[in-house]
Symmetry: C2
Amino acid sequence: MATAKPKAQSERRRRSDGERSRSAILDTAAKLATVEGIGGLSLSRLADDVGMSKSGLFAHFGSKEELQLATVQRANEIFDERVIVPARSASDGLERLRLLTDGYLNYIQADTFPGGCFFASVLSEVDMRPGPVRDRLTDFLSRWLGELESAVRDAQRDGGIDEGEDPAQLVFEIEAAILLANAQYVVLRTSEPIESARRSVERRLAGAHPS
Amino acid sequence: MATAKPKAQSERRRRSDGERSRSAILDTAAKLATVEGIGGLSLSRLADDVGMSKSGLFAHFGSKEELQLATVQRANEIFDERVIVPARSASDGLERLRLLTDGYLNYIQADTFPGGCFFASVLSEVDMRPGPVRDRLTDFLSRWLGELESAVRDAQRDGGIDEGEDPAQLVFEIEAAILLANAQYVVLRTSEPIESARRSVERRLAGAHPS
């Protein structure tokens, strides 16, 4: 019985090292996917980048597709941390909508991923390739647009946005501005498109205010 | 001297067959690039698709990069025919702006390229790969935004758009709507995003009308 505790500790440590290592691999994979494409995310290429053997990586992920899906999952966690969670502190729908759009623009401008928004980058790569990777990305996109639309509906209930506005149309226009900011930022690397998107969203929300 | 005319005719025919064939190859290449990526546009893959030998293709294009650049050039010609030229019939700046945005949305919805707008598709692929292909695409994008901005400035001069509007900001907002229409259309294949973009542009132009 005297050895039970140390053994449990050592197992915990090993498991936790494994988790850390898995998470570090996936952070690298997610960044690489926005530069080389998620299709270029081969186990051998990633093994070079994280300094592991291909067989060591294979112990973590059984196949290229499992690695791709785990990478999308990790990018989703990062997106949630950076964009979704901070908006939860909002006291009303309009403030939540602003925190979500600001959060997205900050996540772009902070170079969270070298090739801009992970989801915009990878979805435009796989949009013509049906399969589990594309499915996860379109699921993400539906949740993201749903998150924005729920904030709009809350804002309509608590008086921040006019009830006559069509929530889906308003979300389309907001998403359009922040997505173009991402596309232009990746090419230009200046804050100009980010500022254009902020002005666009602010003007649109001012126009949607109950009169 | 009796043979001169037939010989000239035959040379003309041969040259014209070559042009037709080159143009047919590039049409296929441009379509393929929006599905497989312009990086996947290898001479051997394209040779299979157009039913030519790799050496036959090599006679047209000396290298993969030359093929890629010629493909961008051909996509540009198609874009001009579909979007830029029809807008020349406009009688004022505002009408030209509407014809340009309608032309773009029609070019998407007509499935001109299977993977949506050639330029949006390929630029998002090569945005992290500096080189001649990316340069041609960013040149295209500057000309396109310049075309929209010139229509806005003309509309400001002839009274269709308020002089207080910042042309670059207005163009950003219009481009945002039609580019999101493209991104969503590729995934959804319904007219909904196209209609959302039309409503967005019309609302924005109504708001920009001189009061």
